[in-house]
C-alpha cells in the first residue's frame, strides 16, 4: 500500500465521520483571545461556516483520528469486517489541520472521534493528547468535541473533559437488544456507566467547595449522544422514551437522531435502505416538544396505534387534531402552557403574544406580524376579530395539512 498524503487521509477520515449527526458548537463558556496570546473564541451560540448539499451545518472539522477499528458494528462504515480503505492521522496532522482551518475562518473547532485501535484505553489516550496539545501548546480557545470511547478507563475520560467543551458517547441504537444484535462488542451498561460518570464529574465541577472555589472547568457544553434510526425495528415511542430517560437521568444536552444511511461496503446483516429522513425530522420535532413545550412522550405518540409518529404532519398538529375538544383557545386569555400547544405557535410567538396582550387585544393580523403560522393556527384559535367556526371540528381538517399522496418512484 502506498503512503497516503494528507489530502487522501482527510478524504477517508472525513468520509468516515459524516454519519455522526452532531456538528454543534454552542453552549460553552465564553472565551476569546484578546490577550493576543492564543487563537480562538467561543461566544455562546455556535456558527455554521458552511452547508453541504445535504443541508447539514458544517461548524466543526469532524474527522476520525483513524478508521481502523477492531469492533464489528454492523451499521458502521469502519467496522473491522468492512473493506473500506483505512487511514490514520498523526496527532500533528490533526492539530495542524484544526489550526490552519480555524485561522482561515472555516470552522469553530474540532470534533474528533475514532475507530478503536489496539485497545479502548490506547485510543482514548491518543485522542486526549491531541486535545491537550491544542489547548496547551497551540493555546487554542475554540471549540473541541471529543467522542469518548465508553470502554476506556474513567480517568482518561475524566481528563478528556478538562480539554473538551463537549463529550459524547453514542448509545447507537434505541434498545439494548439492538445494540447486542448489531454492535456485539459494545455493552449498553458500559455506555450508560460512562455517561453517568461524566454527569457526576460535571456535577462536582459545578459545585463550589467549602472554600467557595469552583472546580476545574469540565465539559462546559455538556454531553450528547446519537441514536441511529431505522436500522432496527424500534418504534418512535421506544426511541423517544429512551431520549426522555437520557435527558432526565444523564442530563444530556442533546440527543441526535441519525437516519440509517447507506454506507460503502455494507454488510449483508443490515441491508441498505433509503435513509428515513422524514422520520428523523419528525423525531427532532417531537424531541423539541418534549424539551421546550411541556409535552409528554405518551401524548406525542398516542396519535397512532403503532407507536410511530405521523410522517405527513408535524407531531404538534397531530396531537391537536386528536385533542380538538381542547380547542379553539382564545389568544387573548389562554395560559402560556396552552398557547404553547397551538400548532403554528413557536416559543417566540407565544412570548410576543404574552407581552403584547398587556397593551391591547390581539387581532388576526397582529398574530401574523408576530410570526405565527396562521395557516396552521387558524383552526385552533380565537382572536378579537377571528373565530374558526366549524373549522376546528371539520372532518377534512387533517387533509388540509397532509401533503397529497406522493408519486411512487422506483428504489
Amino acid at each position: 500500500m502506498s503512503r497516503l498524503d494528507l489530502s487522501q487521509k482527510l478524504a477517508i477520515l472525513s468520509d468516515a465521520a459524516r454519519y455522526d449527526a452532531s456538528c454543534a458548537s454552542s453552549g460553552t463558556t465564553r472565551r476569546d483571545s484578546r490577550d493576543g496570546k492564543g487563537l480562538g473564541s467561543t461566544e455562546g451560540s455556535g456558527i455554521c461556516h458552511a452547508y453541504a448539499p445535504d443541508g447539514r451545518c458544517i461548524s466543526l472539522l469532524k474527522i476520525l483520528m483513524t478508521n481502523f477499528c477492531i469492533y464489528d458494528c454492523a451499521y458502521c462504515v469502519n467496522r473491522v469486517s468492512s473493506n473500506v480503505q483505512r487511514a490514520r492521522f498523526s496527532p500533528d496532522e490533526v492539530v495542524q489541520l484544526t489550526i490552519e482551518f480555524y485561522r482561515r475562518n472555516y470552522i469553530e473547532g474540532l470534533f474528533l472521534s475514532s475507530g478503536i485501535i489496539q485497545s479502548p484505553d490506547k485510543t482514548m489516550d491518543d485522542m486526549l493528547r491531541i486535545a491537550k496539545r491544542l489547548r496547551e501548546v497551540e493555546n487554542f480557545r475554540g471549540y473541541i468535541h471529543l467522542k469518548t470511547i465508553p470502554d476506556a478507563a474513567p480517568e482518561l475520560i475524566e481528563e478528556a473533559g478538562l480539554y473538551a467543551d463537549r463529550l459524547s458517547i453514542n448509545v447507537e441504537l434505541p434498545t439494548d437488544q439492538s445494540v447486542k444484535a448489531y454492535a456485539p462488542e459494545k455493552n449498553p451498561a458500559t455506555i450508560r456507566k460512562a455517561m453517568g460518570d461524566v454527569k457526576s464529574r460535571k456535577d462536582v465541577a459545578s459545585e463550589r467547595s467549602y472554600t467557595g472555589k469552583r472546580g476545574k472547568r469540565f465539559v462546559p457544553a455538556g454531553q450528547s449522544t446519537q441514536m441511529i434510526v431505522g436500522a432496527d425495528g424500534s418504534t418512535d415511542a421506544t426511541i423517544l422514551g429512551q431520549s426522555t430517560m437520557l435527558y432526565g437521568d444523564y442530563k444530556l444536552k442533546r440527543v441526535y437522531y441519525s437516519a440509517f444511511s447507506p454506507i460503502p461496503d455494507a454488510t449483508a446483516k443490515l441491508p441498505l435502505i433509503k435513509p428515513p429522513l422524514a422520520r428523523e425530522h419528525r423525531l427532532y420535532q417531537a424531541d423539541w416538544l418534549l424539551r421546550f413545550y411541556g409535552f409528554g412522550v405518551d401524548e406525542i405518540t398516542a396519535a397512532r396505534p403503532d407507536g410511530n409518529l405521523d410522517l405527513d404532519i408535524d407531531p404538534k398538529l397531530a396531537w391537536a387534531l386528536q385533542n380538538r375538544a381542547l380547542f379553539p383557545v382564545d389568544v387573548n386569555r389562554a395560559s402560556k402552557e396552552m398557547l404553547l400547544r397551538v400548532p403554528g405557535f413557536g416559543t417566540r410567538t407565544v412570548g410576543r403574544i404574552l407581552s403584547t396582550r398587556r397593551h391591547r387585544r390581539l387581532r388576526y393580523d397582529d398574530l401574523l406580524r408576530m410570526g405565527a403560522s396562521l395557516k396552521k393556527a387558524q383552526a385552533f384559535i380565537v382572536a378579537q376579530d377571528w373565530t374558526p367556526g366549524g373549522l376546528t371540528d371539520s372532518a377534512d381538517l387533517r387533509a388540509r395539512f397532509a401533503p397529497p399522496p406522493e408519486q411512487l418512484s422506483l428504489f
Binding site: R18, D54, R104
Partner: protein
C-alpha cells in the same frame, strides 16, 4: 429644516448624537433630511447647525439596542424610521412592547436583516494566508456584505483572531487589524489575494463530509444563499456533488457484500481472549 450628514464610518454614533439633539429641541420627523455619506449631493444641502444638547434624553433600552442594529441597514429610510419611532416613544413609552405595531414590526424586521447579515459575515468570511513572514501571521479576505455590517462585526474577528494580523476588504468598508489595533477604512474593489493551498484541503473536507444519500439542496441554499457562493472556495464543488450524488448511492447499493478482510478472524479471536 435640518439636513443631517452621517458618515459611512461611525454612522451609529453620529446618528445617535444628532437624534438626541433633535429630539431635545422638539424637531419633528418631517423637518429632517438624513444624508448618509453625502449621497444626496449638494441638492438638499441646507447648512443648519444641529441644535445644542440641552437636556438628557431618555429612551427605552430596547429602543437603543434596536437602533444600534438598524442604523447599519441598507434601507435609505432607516434613519427616518428610527427617528419617527423615537418621536412616538415620547408619548407612548410602552410602544416597544407592542409587537403588533406596524412601524415597530418594520424596524424589527430590519434589525433581523442586519443580524442575519452579521451572522453570515461571521460564518462566510474566508481568509487567505498572505505568507508575509514576521512575528505575526497575516491573512486577508474579500467579503460582500448585504448591509453595512463590517463595523459592528469586526470586533468579533478581533476577539477571535487576536494573535494574527488580518484585513477584511469589502466594497463598503474595509476593516484592518494590525498588531492588535482595529481600524476602518473606505471600501475598495476586490484585491488580488495570493493562492492558498489550504483551500484545496478545505474543499476535500467539504466534499467528503457531504452524505450523498441525504441530498437536500433547498436546506443548503436557505442557509447559504447563492449570492455568497462566489466568495466561498468550497462552493465550486457544489454542482458536482449534487450531480454525482445519485450515482454514488446507487453504487453503494449495487455493491454486493464483500468478504471480510483476512485480519478479522484474528482480531476477533484476540478480542474474545481479552474478556
Amino acid at each position: 429644516m435640518y439636513t443631517v450628514p452621517l458618515p459611512r464610518i461611525g454612522t451609529d454614533i453620529a446618528w445617535r448624537d444628532a437624534a438626541k439633539r433633535l429630539i431635545g429641541a422638539g424637531v419633528s420627523p418631517e423637518d429632517i433630511l438624513w444624508d448618509f455619506d453625502n449621497e444626496m449631493g449638494e441638492l438638499f444641502a441646507i447648512d443648519t447647525p444641529l441644535p445644542p444638547v440641552t437636556r438628557r434624553i431618555k429612551a427605552p433600552q430596547s429602543f437603543v439596542e434596536m437602533a444600534n442594529w438598524v442604523v447599519w441597514h441598507k434601507d435609505p429610510q432607516r434613519f427616518a424610521r428610527l427617528y419617527a419611532m423615537l418621536w412616538r416613544l415620547r408619548h407612548q413609552p410602552g410602544l416597544m412592547q407592542d409587537r403588533a405595531d406596524a412601524d415597530l414590526a418594520k424596524l424589527r424586521q430590519m434589525e433581523k436583516g442586519v443580524h442575519r447579515c452579521k451572522h453570515k459575515m461571521k460564518a462566510f468570511v474566508r481568509f487567505r494566508d498572505l505568507r508575509q513572514g514576521g512575528a505575526r501571521r497575516s491573512f486577508a479576505a474579500w467579503f460582500e456584505p448585504t448591509h453595512h455590517t463590517v463595523e459592528p462585526t469586526a470586533p468579533f474577528f478581533a476577539r477571535r483572531f487576536a494573535d494574527m494580523d488580518w484585513m477584511i476588504a469589502t466594497p463598503d468598508v474595509t476593516a484592518q487589524f494590525i498588531d492588535g489595533n482595529l481600524t476602518f477604512h473606505p471600501g475598495q474593489p476586490k484585491p488580488d489575494l495570493p493562492e492558498d493551498a489550504t483551500e484545496a484541503l478545505w474543499g476535500t473536507y467539504f466534499c467528503n463530509i457531504f452524505n450523498p444519500a441525504r441530498l437536500k439542496v433547498s436546506a443548503m441554499t436557505s442557509e447559504m444563499p447563492r449570492k455568497y457562493w462566489k466568495n466561498l472556495p468550497e462552493a465550486q464543488h457544489i454542482h458536482d456533488l449534487i450531480a454525482g450524488a445519485e450515482a454514488k448511492v446507487q453504487q453503494m447499493r449495487d455493491a454486493a457484500p464483500t468478504l471480510p478482510p483476512e485480519r478479522v478472524a484474528k482480531i476477533k479471536r484476540q478480542l474474545r481472549g481479552r474478556d
